[in-house]
Amino acid sequence: MAQTTDIIDGRIMGIYNGANLIATITGCSLKISHAARDSANKDSGKWGHTLSGRVGWTMSGNGKFRFDATHGFAELFDLICGAGAALPTPATFLISTQNAGDIDYSGSGYLTDLQADYPDSADSTYSFTIKGDGALTKATH
């Protein structure tokens, strides 16, 4: 299949934990920030002076809560807590349509937030945030 054309329907973008698509999500996002340094000083005159700083990234998503999900809340719980007494470990995350020709973004990160909500007589939901450790790579799928 060729590269997806026109405005992307958000439905086709997913977040993958390794090779596993995180199930039943209703939204996902990628945020990249560059902590540029404000280096204005007396020599800068009336204009601000900015220098480059460090780049960071987060991925986040939300979905419907299911006990029988293939890769859902339960698996993310194991990731955020780590096994036994061991510290949590970073994992590879990918945001992708899985369509050849489209652009994927991937990197290693830690799950930092995981929340589940159970409202009365409404769908249970969950949300999660991944904080990147190191580079975020852009690649053509």
Partner: protein, 137 residues
Amino acid sequence: MAQHTDIIDGRLMGIYVAGSLVAVATGCSLKITHAVRESSNKDSGKWQKMLPGRVGWSMSGNAKFEFNAAYGFADLYALITGPTGATVLISTKTTGDIEYTGNCFLESLDADFPDSADSTYSFSMKGDGVLTKQTTA
């Protein structure tokens, strides 16, 4: 009258200051907090360690503003400007229900006078010492 059953209509609950019901109220609430201590250290492993801290409480309410209220803004004004502590009770005054009482100081008292609408006021009280839970006699 016996204990109220089922979900309590908020209308039934009132705040009593030194025995007097705050009049023409439109809502009231009770809040209790326990300020746990974050005591994580190197021996805690990867999980946060908590220890008990101090318990605090507050009551707050809001009401319509009347100059001739039996117990209203003017009375609470005297309390907050004293400043004087008082015994406060939140209760339905129905035998068998549960009520909460303690000593407190009025912390805030706000009045609002919008154009062509009811004047209202709100207040909050901060507990001093124990909040007692008791069955309404």
